[in-house]
């Protein structure tokens, strides 16, 4: 199976006048196969969205990027090459559909602009068909509507339709269900999975919601403080987490089955992006910490899993 996206040693610094102010991405290594979904899970500030932004070539000018991004048959691509395929071969949907659409244009006008840029002919018919394919039964009404006239679920469907206008090779979905009610979010997840099965695009699915990530992903990458700490098949990561952070995160999910007051907690907080991190970023919160943890941890291969940790054994 061919690889659609391969990111190696991606690092991002923010600099002011050549001075590094912080390094929010410190080593992202991920790979997505054709037609498959990689889920990125992590907490606030760990670098999930920044990773997507870097892939799309949309980092601000104060950011300095290292490492390489290979995409489909383009090989290694730089920022300007990415600009040429952004929105056609790679498309993206965002967390908050209300703010992703421009409130003063109708959905139809905005979709038409995208379709024109993609050089699509017979725009009206294509838009109607696309909106139907995302489960919007009354496409004409949707096209004539302003964003505030549609529900969050309908808007998210419209945004999915926009992202799929050009039949992309890779869809990046950044927290696509976070702003939606649980049941509506689930419908959107089911829709995305159905469309993916039918149209065969690969997907990078980013969320803080472990359950949502587990539901749609083939592979999962857990990010902590700008670094991938564990990757592997979704089922394996969920059922037998290896990295102490992954174990803590999964143990923190409340449920009726767990006795009250006994949730696994990770002491302290996610380090601020301004923290100067040496060695393993999780070490200061880790109960399994050893002396060596102040050095950069090795990547340990455990079966089909990769774990960045001094403590776990292969």
């Amino acid at each position: 199976m061919s690889t659609v996206l391969k990111i190696s040693e991606l690092e991002v610094d923010f600099q002011i006048n050549g001075v590094i102010t912080n390094t929010p991405l410190r080593g992202i290594n991920i790979e997505i196969k054709a037609g498959k979904t990689l889920g990125i899970v992590g907490e606030t500030g760990c670098g999930k969205t920044l990773t997507a932004t870097a892939i799309m070539g949309l980092l601000p000018s104060s950011a300095v990027q290292r490492g390489q991004i290979e995409f489909a048959d383009h090989g290694v691509i730089n920022k300007s090459e990415m600009a040429a395929i952004r929105g056609s071969e790679i498309t993206m949907i965002f967390q908050n559909p209300q703010s992703a659409f421009n409130p003063i244009f109708t959905i139809g006008a905005q979709l038409t602009m995208v379709a024109q840029r993609r050089g699509i002919s017979d725009i009206k018919a294509i838009l109607v068909a696309r909106l139907e394919s995302v489960g919007l039964r009354d496409p004409r009404r949707v096209l004539e509507s302003y964003p505030h006239e549609l529900s969050g679920g309908m808007l998210q469907r419209a945004m999915i339709a926009m992202a799929l206008l050009s039949t992309p090779t890779l869809l990046i979905a950044d927290e696509p269900t976070t702003a939606l009610d649980a049941t509506i979010g689930d419908q959107v997840l089911t829709l995305i999975a159905t469309l993916q099965k039918r149209e065969g695009f690969a997907m990078l699915f980013i969320s803080h919601d472990v359950t949502a990530v587990a539901k749609v992903s083939d592979e999962i990458a857990v990010i902590y403080a700008g670094r991938v700490v564990e990757t592997g098949p979704a089922h394996d990561v969920m059922s037998s987490p290896q990295h102490p952070y992954t174990r803590g995160l999964l143990g923190a999910i409340p449920s009726a089955e767990k006795a009250r007051g006994t949730l696994v907690t990770i002491p302290g907080n996610v380090p601020s992006v301004l923290t100067n991190i040496k060695g393993c970023a999780f070490a200061e919160r880790c109960s399994a910490r050893i002396d060596k943890c102040d050095q950069e941890p090795p990547i340990v291969e455990i079966g089909n899993r990769s774990v960045a940790c001094w403590v776990v054994k292969s």
């Binding site: 068909a129 496409p139 999910i253 907690t265 996610v270």
Partner: protein
């Protein structure tokens, strides 16, 4: 506490609490909370779970005296909040604590942590030494260092802010604490810290929590009892184990499924969706009430001459090239039968189907009703230009008072009806509930008749095409009423037996035994092909005229150009229209077809004299991509 032990004392009693917000365009207003009664017991955690707009926050605000309820009220520790003096209200409020979702927003950004926690104590008239002592105690209990007392909210993390908010809520030693989405803006690992803290404080200080959240995991983890709220009412209340392990209400079941990450299971609310529909569409009569449509004693037999070369044709659609078997698999085909010039040339079954299995037709059922109406008109039973209420006076006052039978046949009734299959509030979902196709716990729309009577007009009839399933149900009811004969018997007598059906078919009926004309018929694939053959053969079968030729010609000619069409129809079939419950392609070969959601078709090409009957179990009801693939599939077969 609870769980079989003796119930402890009631600390809060909520009685028939209702909150109505006035709306500009409505005399009634919006009822956010609808007559809710519940008691809170000392030391328990009552969790209210619901989605945005369910009314849970309004309920809590009214119960805790933040918002004035429209009617009903709360008794807190034996005292009513209503009609108290300011002083008495303040004293009573000292027994209540509040923690809200956004901790940074509920702490004054100009106040230090110390000032924020001290404020309620000052209001209670405590002296400054005692305040300092109390603040230090609280800081320790919520896990914050006293070194942070001088900080302001923007200098704290989200978790720390929420700890301050909890300390402030507990400052006056309250008995009952409202927790309104207390962890919703926190990261998972921080949420776990706060949930553990809340449980520890509840035990140590003997607190009672009124917890509200959209997150079922949080609610079920912390609560003794769970109330599930939807549209202003509790749809289910019970002990947490009871609600989580044996949910009764469909909404609760759906929530639990979503949070468990599990795939949907087969039930009355999911049977139409993939993959449950694969079995369900072949076995409708095992879980819904049906009536028999009887086979002919002289079935029409086909000559069979299977054309294997069809398997080799290639079809270009949606940027890909498929062979026929590939495309059939791609559209989740259950069965296909192709009859050309009275000869069976292609027949394939999948997913446990055989030539003897029946399959639900969904809206292809509508096209069969169209044919029955042709016979009824020819026999002079009805006049289709009469308003529907002329024959069904029960419908006076509804949209069907003015709309004619012909307009219902051609789908040009201007009706307030959303055919949105995914929206549980749409009229289509109401129709499904009325027909018994979905669980109906609303107490409304009990049966098709009462539902159809509530439909209203949206404009002038006959001007524009508007697909609406209710129009077909009303016609099935009408013809059965006029003839005083059950709909299934009319179909048996005038269509199924004369056309030479080989097998019995069936139709789903509602709770009153009324046929669901819009989509309830199940039949074999070959019998559906026999029905299509009637069109090819100018209405004749077994040497008899079954349906009038003139009607077929009128149908093939399509709707009048004056009728405004719909974009999705024009996108699929430029110049196409809907006439007499059939879809008209306006294509070169004058094809017409009947179509049902999830991929059911009867396709008739009068030029090549080909009929295709095809069943599928697609995962979603409608979408343009699948429609296009089907059109390409049918045209390629007919052109071969």
């Amino acid at each position: 506490m609870l769980g079989g032990e003796i119930m402890s004392e009631i600390v809060m009693q909520i009685t028939e609490l209702t909150k109505v917000f006035p709306l500009r365009d409505s005399k009634v207003g919006f009822k956010a909370v609808d007559s809710i009664s519940i008691d809170l017991y000392k030391g328990e955690v009552l969790g209210v779970v619901g989605e945005s707009g369910s009314g849970k926050s309004t309920l809590a605000r009214c119960a805790f005296g933040i918002t004035e309820p429209t009617s009903g009220g709360t008794i807190i520790l034996g005292q009513s909040l209503v009609g108290k003096s300011r002083k008495a209200t303040r004293e009573l409020r000292a027994h209540l604590g509040f923690v809200f979702q956004d901790p940074a927003g509920s702490i004054n950004p100009r106040m230090s942590v110390h000032a924020a926690i001290a404020e309620p104590l000052m209001l209670a008239g405590m002296d400054s030494d005692s305040i300092d002592k109390r603040v230090n105690f609280l800081m320790d209990r919520v896990g914050l260092a006293t070194s942070q007392l001088s900080r302001k909210s923007h200098e704290l993390s989200g978790g720390q802010c929420q700890r301050v908010a909890i300390a402030r809520a507990l400052a006056t030693n309250p008995k009952i604490v409202l927790l309104d989405e207390p962890t919703s803006s926190l990261d998972l690992s921080v949420q776990a810290q706060i949930l553990n803290l809340l449980e520890e404080l509840r035990r140590d200080f003997d607190l009672t929590y009124f917890l509200i959240s959209h997150n079922l995991d949080v609610v079920s983890h912390l609560s003794d009892r769970v109330a599930v709220m939807k549209d202003g009412v509790f749809v289910e209340v019970g002990s947490t184990r009871q609600v989580v392990d044996a949910p009764k209400h469909p909404f609760t079941r759906e929530l639990i499924r979503v949070y468990s990450g599990a795939a949907r299971e087969f039930d009355l609310d999911t049977w139409q969706d993939g993959p449950m529909n694969r079995w369900a569409f072949q076995n409708v009569s095992t879980f819904l009430p049906t009536r028999k449509i009887e086979a002919s004693t002289k079935p029409l037999e086909f000559k069979a001459l299977i054309d294997d070369t069809l398997d080799a044709i290639t079809i270009d659609v949606a940027d890909s090239t498929y062979t026929l078997p590939e495309l059939l698999a791609d559209v989740d085909t259950d069965a296909i039968v192709v009859v050309r010039k009275a000869t069976l040339v292609y027949e394939k079954y999948f997913n446990d189907m055989t030539e003897d299995s029946v399959h639900l037709l969904q809206s292809v059922s509508k096209s069969i009703l169209g044919a029955l109406y042709a016979v009824m008109v020819e026999r002079g039973v009805i006049d289709i230009d009469k308003p529907i209420a002329f024959y069904l006076p029960e419908l006076v006052g509804s949209v069907y008072e003015d709309a004619t039978i012909a307009q219902a046949l051609d789908m040009t009734v201007a009706i307030n009806f959303s055919e949105d299959y995914s929206d549980p509030q749409s009229e289509m979902a109401r129709l499904d509930r009325a027909a018994g196709w979905r669980t109906n716990t609303t107490g409304q729309d009990l049966g098709l008749r009462s539902f159809l009577g509530t439909m209203t007009a949206s404009g002038e009839h006959g001007k524009a095409y508007q697909y609406c399933s209710a129009n077909t149900d009303v016609l099935a009811w009408l013809i059965s009423e006029v003839t005083q004969t059950p709909y299934q018997e009319l179909l048996t007598r005038y269509i199924w037996q004369p056309m030479g059906a080989h097998d019995d078919a069936s139709i789903i009926v509602d709770s009153e035994g009324l046929s669901v004309g819009n989509g309830g018929i199940s039949c074999t694939t070959r019998d559906l092909a026999r029905f299509g053959l009637l069109i090819v053969n100018h209405g004749r079968a077994n040497g008899e005229q079954v349906i009038p030729t003139a009607w077929i010609d009128a149908t093939l000619a399509g709707a009048s150009a004056d009728v405004e069409s719909a974009d999705y129809l024009q996108a699929l079939h430029p110049g196409g229209s809907y006439k007499n419950k059939w879809w008209i392609t306006a294509g070169a070969s004058r094809e017409i077809f009947g179509v049902g959601i999830y991929g059911q078709y009867v396709w008739v090409d009068p030029t090549s004299e080909t009929v295709i009957a095809k069943f599928s179990s697609l995962p979603i009801p409608v979408d343009g991509v699948h429609s296009r693939k089907h059109m390409a599939l049918f045209k390629a077969i007919c052109a071969h």
